[in-house]
């Protein structure tokens, strides 16, 4: 392993519990065993992560506010110099808790919105008044002077309203806006035929996002990544397997990517039994797709192999049935028709009411 390879960011998935039911959730459809890590175990993981090179931590889930020890974990991370990001729906953020997060040194809140309009937003989240509670969360975050980043997952039912979303984010005072096209894992994969937008929708959205990015330079950073189902190019997933990112799931399993549980037959070591450093450096799961040795053609001889790293292993497993194959999103993949067919076939009529809403584990 190249010594320069160390994790820069850790996603700490504190719980899979969530008050929302978003049909594009990438959490596992079935819950993890055993139960959730306790506070001491998380504190140990956070310290080990710092020693291993992690500079940024994202507290995520599920909904991390469901954990009553969240403020303690933020404080632990911040005390050892980590940049702390809270990735939340905002549901359950009270004034008292927000104050304690700010006092603990929370650097950034990434708040999810389902749409700019309350009615559409609530119908996608599957919860009444969710939008209103999110707006309240925005006010609390600003009052405490914590940086605000917004995240909107895009799909057929909201992508046409991208311009409104950008205006909305600007009005709410976000300094970063992530416009994330749905990635088809977990619940989202089960809903793919209902969520996937048409090619026209995706192209129109890209133009709007690009124009807004230019207009808002220096005011609000806009991230819009073209969805791999439509571009013929695979995403450089996680910037390479076991190369920059590390995820710890609620039960303590350590994954190279938050959806790697989609890969059948890949076992993940757990921090209850091994150190984070051992798992990063030595575990079979982290070494399995590291570098380029595991690749077969067309990846093996492809000039892009160290740019896109063969795309996404989870997607290869999900679509082509083998995680070591080229990501079918790549136009050179022998399985590329699977993606094209999904785009063609799935661009049929569907309504929000047809969606399969996420249930809690």
């Amino acid at each position: 392993m190249d010594l320069a390879e160390r994790p820069y960011a850790m996603l700490a998935e504190l719980t899979y519990r969530c008050p929302l039911h978003c049909p594009y959730c990438s959490n596992p459809v079935r819950s993890a065993k055993p139960g959730e890590l306790n506070t001491e175990q998380w504190e140990r993981v956070i310290r080990e992560a710092m020693m291993l090179g992690v500079l940024q931590i994202g507290f995520s889930g599920g909904e991390p506010l469901q954990r009553i020890d969240l403020e303690a974990l933020i404080q632990t991370a911040r005390e050892i110099g980590l940049y702390t990001n809270l990735i939340t729906s905002g549901i359950g953020l009270t004034e008292r808790r927000a104050k304690r997060f700010a006092e603990s040194g929370l650097d950034n809140v990434q708040l999810s919105f389902q749409a700019a309009e309350g009615e559409l937003s609530d119908s996608i989240a599957g919860v009444r008044n969710a939008h209103e509670q999110k707006l309240r969360a925005v006010r609390l975050i600003h009052e405490l002077g914590v940086a605000l980043s917004l995240n909107v997952v895009l799909h057929r039912f909201n992508i046409d309203r991208l311009g409104q979303m950008i205006d909305f984010a600007e009005k709410l005072g976000a300094t970063r806006l992530e416009l994330a096209n749905t990635q088809y894992y977990g619940w989202a994969f089960r809903n793919r035929s209902r969520l996937i937008p048409t090619r026209d929708q995706v192209e129109a959205a890209a133009q709007i996002a690009l124009a807004a990015r230019r207009r808002l330079r220096g005011v609000m950073e806009i991230l819009y990544i073209l969805p791999d189902y439509f571009t013929g190019r695979p995403k450089p997933c996680m910037n390479g397997w076991g190369r920059r990112y590390i995820t710890v799931n609620p039960s303590g399993s350590v994954l190279p990517c938050p959806t790697a549980w989609e890969i059948p037959g890949l076992a993940f070591d757990n921090i209850r039994e091994k150190s984070l450093a051992w798992i990063w450096k030595e575990s079979e799961s982290f070494n399995r797709f590291r570098g380029t040795e595991w690749m077969s053609e067309p990846c093996r001889s492809c000039p892009q192999r160290e740019v896109d790293f063969g795309g996404c292993r989870c997607q290869a497993a999900l679509l082509a049935g083998d995680p070591a194959r080229t990501d079918p999103a790549c136009e050179y993949s022998p399985d590329h028709r699977l993606v094209n067919e999904a785009v063609r076939r799935d661009s049929e009529h569907s309504a929000v009411a047809d969606l399969l809403f996420r249930q809690n584990p």
């Binding site: 090179g53 500079l55 110099g81 990001n85 940086a147 300094t175 970063r176 950073e221």
Partner: protein, 93 residues
Amino acid sequence: MKSRAPAKKPRLAKRARLHTDPVSGNPVLMHQEAVLVLNQSGYEILRLCDGTHTLAEVIQDLENRYPAARSVLSQEVSEYIEAISQKGLIEWI
């Protein structure tokens, strides 16, 4: 590129934090879900962007410490601060 008044004071945005990477020893600028690896001169410049020095003073300070680079410093420092400013990570007060 916009030119900034030399009497304005650049200040790192609150959401951006200078830090030393404990693994490599390199200076880094951390911000919302991102890490910018800095070279030593970048660090020296940003360290002075604390809202108490004007742009002219930042340049003067660096010129005093690196007299050999005097001829290029003014432009390079301005451009560097402007580039970070374009990322929204510097406020002008």
